[in-house]
């Protein structure tokens, strides 16, 4: 999942596809709105797969009827964080579901440095493995992605 031929992070829906155009994003948003989902915009510069909670860009948008509102917020986020990962999430508030129903990335850095394998020797000469994102070598906010 982490390594793939394109050398790109694959998280959420559509991440094995070429980047969605704005028109395609708007269609997805429209689909979610028709299902009654509330969209929200989130961003991060730490692409580790276990980094589940990204920063919220504004409040989740409830009671929207048209994709234009979400797209407006997405453009704002892209202007503010052009080299961050940005994703759209659709929250399904149906009783008993109450969780994220859709989630896909809509913005990623120009250059994604990928992950390194880290080996840690532990007791009894056993080895623990973990992955480390090169992107996080720089402090938060300075990870330019190139």
């Amino acid at each position: 999942m982490i390594t793939n031929p394109a050398g790109r992070i694959t998280q959420g829906q559509f991440s094995f596809l070429p980047d969605l155009t704005d028109a395609e994003i708007a269609l997805q948003v429209e689909y979610g709105l028709n299902k009654g989902y509330a969209w929200s915009v989130e961003y991060t510069d730490d692409p580790h797969p276990r980094n589940t909670y990204w920063e919220m860009f504004g409040m989740p948008m409830f009671d929207l009827r048209d994709a234009a509102g979400v797209m407006l917020e997405l453009q704002n986020c892209r202007r503010t964080f052009p080299r961050h990962y940005i994703r759209l999430m659709a929250f399904d508030s149906t009783r008993g579901v109450e969780s994220i129903a859709m989630s896909f990335m809509v913005n990623r850095p120009q250059h994604e440095p990928g992950f390194g394998l880290v080996r840690q020797e532990s007791r009894g000469r056993s080895i623990r493995y973990t992955i480390h994102s090169y992107a996080t070598d720089a402090p938060e906010g300075e990870r330019d992605g190139d």
Binding site: L17, L27, L64, R65
Partner: protein
Amino acid sequence: MASPKYTIPGTAQPFAPVSAADASPIFDATAGVVNGVRTVNQVLAQSQAGAVMDELERDLIGLAPIKMRIRDIAALLVIDKLRTDLGLAAAAPSLHMSFTGNPGTGKTTVALRMAEILHRLGYVRKGHLVAVTRDDLVGQYIGHTAPKTKEVVKKAMGGVLFIDEAYYLYRPENERDYGQEAIEILLQVMENQRDDLVVILAGYKDRMDTFFRSNPGMSSRIAHHLDFPDYPQSDLLRIAERMLQQQNYQFGPGAREAFEQYIGYRIGQEHFANARSVRNALDRARLRQASRLFADRDREYTAEDLTTIAEPDIRASRVFQIAAAHKPE
């Protein structure tokens, strides 16, 4: 970005948000006319513009200048479609409006209809109406206004944003008032998201004029300044009959004449609010009818009894007493 090698179902053409475009032919500049839509009638057959105009004529009494303007807007849509088919590009017209007029002249009613009309004409994608007042737009502390206004704007996208009593947004006596911030955001949205939403400002004539004088940017971004005239007496009577009909009531013998007289007196008295006064008068007449029927406990009532507003129900109104008191000797 490289163009994708796949297609998403339902996207034969690049995302075209205007819903009326769904029915229209896919425009191709090189091919010229695609399916030969050349006459107004052909376009009318495809869109619902004709039905909308008829319905408006039937449902709204009076308001001739308003209907005229809506007819113009509908005509522009039809002609634009003909132009597009011949490859003549046209920018989407600005449809922001201001409704001014005395109380009860139908500003809110028309605004509600307008969202639906613009949707069916294909100018807005969803056709819902978000009605707000100053409280919904202006925040209570620094930094509260912008997110609040933007949230409302986002909710209204694809539909109509109706700002009732818009002049309250601007309070010249308090220069630190946050209303100005809301106005600036609205101006920006009205300019940049013209395809996404239509803003309608409504309010009483004189105060709206003051508002526009102090916010020339707002005034110039509004293409349609519609002034709602007061209803003549005959229209008010027709409105009354329409209201009764909608609530399954009718005038009894003599009641119609009594109500006509009532309107004549009421117009001259203070706080007259056109159709709203008529509605209130009818509501009070219904109350009197109810207590009249209530008094006779053993009688079996027919449907006709229960639906008829009798002459005394209307004659009992205070308006007649006041008018009698003021009558010159």
